[in-house]
């Protein structure tokens, strides 16, 4: 079943579940117009752990919103949400994402190949539904910084398989150099310049050390919805029509990222309301 009518939505709404959001500021030096992940931020949902080898996290993974998959073929949706972003200079957007796959433990002083093998082509943990469009256009890829790496901006070559299955394609980008590219929580988009879409990231390779090993990884997410208070130290409430009533597929690993307009990622308070029908 799915919600296919306004009546269906009205009937489902009172039966929903609210999940609390309280997340500590992930990076007080976060820069504007950059994304930061709250995966390892303390609070509710509880802090996630920086991964090591590539895995497909789910709603049962520590750090995810702990919703229960519906029974009897019912579907889950985000019906409303409110978010408050605390921080005098923070005006930000908070996004709810499905964390499709991740790995960590990469070293920013290691020159040469480091294995990644993050693969979202499989069907484990309901990934076939969670990743969305068959051309992988719903999947966004990021470098995620778990522990601050070096301050020197260096070229990183990302080797990937595209959405058509062609392996060993490469994309180069820089990591290190500013809080948005070396600070804890930073998400650095991996966007192939040739318009390719990525299904697997096989390895990464640094040309020169950034100066500090840190801990970084590769994360694939699907963006579900966004909320944006009009200013720092204030809140907003988004109903289903603003959120787009996004579908949350079974086993989805729901997490939060911010996209700031100010300085500092901010402390997050709020709720998301999931309905199932």
């Amino acid at each position: 079943m799915t919600i296919s009518s306004l009546e269906g939505l009205l009937t489902a709404m009172p039966g929903g579940r609210s999940f609390r959001i309280i997340k500590a500021e992930i990076n007080t030096q976060a820069q504007s117009l950059k994304r930061f992940s709250y995966w390892t931020s303390a609070g509710a949902p509880m802090a996630g752990v920086a991964p090591t080898t590539a895995v497909i996290p789910t709603n049962a993974t520590a750090g995810a919103f702990p919703f229960t998959n519906p029974a009897g073929g019912a579907a889950t949706y985000i019906a409303r949400s409110n978010i408050w972003i605390a921080g005098a200079q923070t005006i930000a957007e908070a996004e709810i994402i499905d964390r499709l796959a991740h790995m960590g433990g990469l070293n920013a002083t290691t020159i040469g190949d480091q294995t990644v093998n993050v693969d979202v082509t499989g069907s484990s943990n309901n990934l076939a539904s969670r990743r969305g469009a068959t051309d992988y256009s719903d999947v966004s890829w990021y470098i995620e910084i778990y522990t601050q790496i070096g301050a020197s901006s260096r070229v990183l070559t990302v080797t990937y398989t595209d959405s058509l299955g062609n392996p060993n394609l490469t994309h180069t980008m820089n990591i290190g150099g500013s809080q948005a590219t070396f600070g804890a929580g930073a998400l650095i988009p991996i966007v192939p310049t040739n318009g390719n879409r990525i299904s697997i990231i096989q390895k990464v390779s640094l040309a020169i050390s950034t100066g500090t090993a840190g801990n970084f990884g590769i994360t694939a997410v699907r963006h579900l919805c966004a909320m944006h208070p009009p200013s720092g130290n204030t809140g907003c409430e988004f109903d289903w029509s603003k959120l787009g009533l996004p579908r949350v597929h079974d086993s989805a690993c729901l997490g939060i990222i911010s996209w700031g307009s100010g300085f500092g990622a901010g402390i997050l308070y709020g709720t998301i309301r999931l309905v199932q029908a």
Partner: protein, 284 residues
């Protein structure tokens, strides 16, 4: 039961208006949560600081109510909410069902103080009011009843029984000091390791905050949320904000629910700041 658009339309047109209001405000401090429980003097009656653990209801002094009794076969839901703030206060108001509370804890007592606030019971329709069977709908707070505990921040260890029924679990929260001591302040208790909480057994301060004050433990269930983005222009009647059914989610109000407000201001509000609004309750 299917809810049709026509049913919703009829229900909204016959909404029961439940007013609420507080003046002065709840000692608002930027980004901090404040309780409306004992600052209920404008419309809602003023609540009383509890002593031993109790399950408040809509008949408890301080609750928004009494609640209307729905027609047989119908249930009560939030159709809309609107309110306004006075002065330069901008922020949010969340409606909660106050599931359980206790007070009389001392900010200078080092070591164990008994709480025994248990919301696993069925008293006063709590089995329905608390929501999900794993207690994930329940939020737990330290609530300040006097102004306040001391100026020295101290770690408070909270010993609880998890939602799975495992007793003796612990988590910590800091109370006392700037922003965490004034009357009406609510400080969220986040259980360890993603737990939920069914019973808070006791609390223990690591050291004295410097002043006894009076604080307690409160359990609530979040109902709905309202934000106000613009400061008042001379009178709060001109700066109201309204959230309609899609924003309130048609949240169910269970029988005996003890409705209260939790405020989160965008700026430090003065003692003259107030809040006044109306909850629109509908039958579906």
């Amino acid at each position: 039961m299917t809810i049709t658009v026509a049913q919703l339309q009829r229900a909204l047109s016959k909404a029961y208006f439940l007013p609420f209001g507080h003046n002065p405000d709840f000692n608002g401090t930027t980004n901090r949560f404040s309780s409306g429980w004992i600052y209920s003097t404008l419309v809602t009656t003023q609540g009383v600081a509890p002593t031993t653990a109790a399950i408040p209801t809509d008949a408890t002094t301080g609750a928004m109510g009494p609640l209307p009794v729905p027609t047989t076969g119908k249930t009560l839901h939030v159709g809309a909410v609107h309110c306004g703030f006075t002065s330069n206060d901008v922020g949010s108001v969340a409606m909660h069902d106050r599931l359980g509370h206790m007070g009389g804890l001392n900010g200078t007592t080092v070591g164990d103080q008994t709480v025994n606030l248990d919301i696993s019971v069925a008293t006063s329709n709590l089995a329905n009011r608390r929501g999900a069977s794993d207690y994930s709908d329940v939020q737990w707070w330290v609530e300040m009843y006097t102004n306040g505990v001391g100026a020295t921040p101290q770690v408070l260890t909270v010993t609880y029984t998890s939602g799975a029924g495992t007793p003796g679990q612990t988590t910590t929260v800091t109370i006392g000091g700037t922003g965490f001591r004034t009357q009406s302040r609510m400080i969220q208790i986040i259980p360890a390791n993603g737990d939920t909480i069914s019973i808070v057994e006791k609390v223990a301060l690591a050291g004295s905050t410097g002043t006894a004050g009076n604080f307690g433990i409160t359990a609530t269930r979040f109902i709905c949320y309202l934000t106000q983005q613009q400061s008042a222009i001379g009178n709060y009647l001109f700066t109201r904000t309204m959230m309609h059914w899609s924003s309130t989610g048609l949240e169910r109000i269970h029988d005996s629910a003890c409705l209260m407000q939790v405020h989160q201001p965008s700026n430090n509000s003065s003692s003259s700041t107030g809040i006044k609004g109306v909850l629109h309750l509908i039958e579906l």
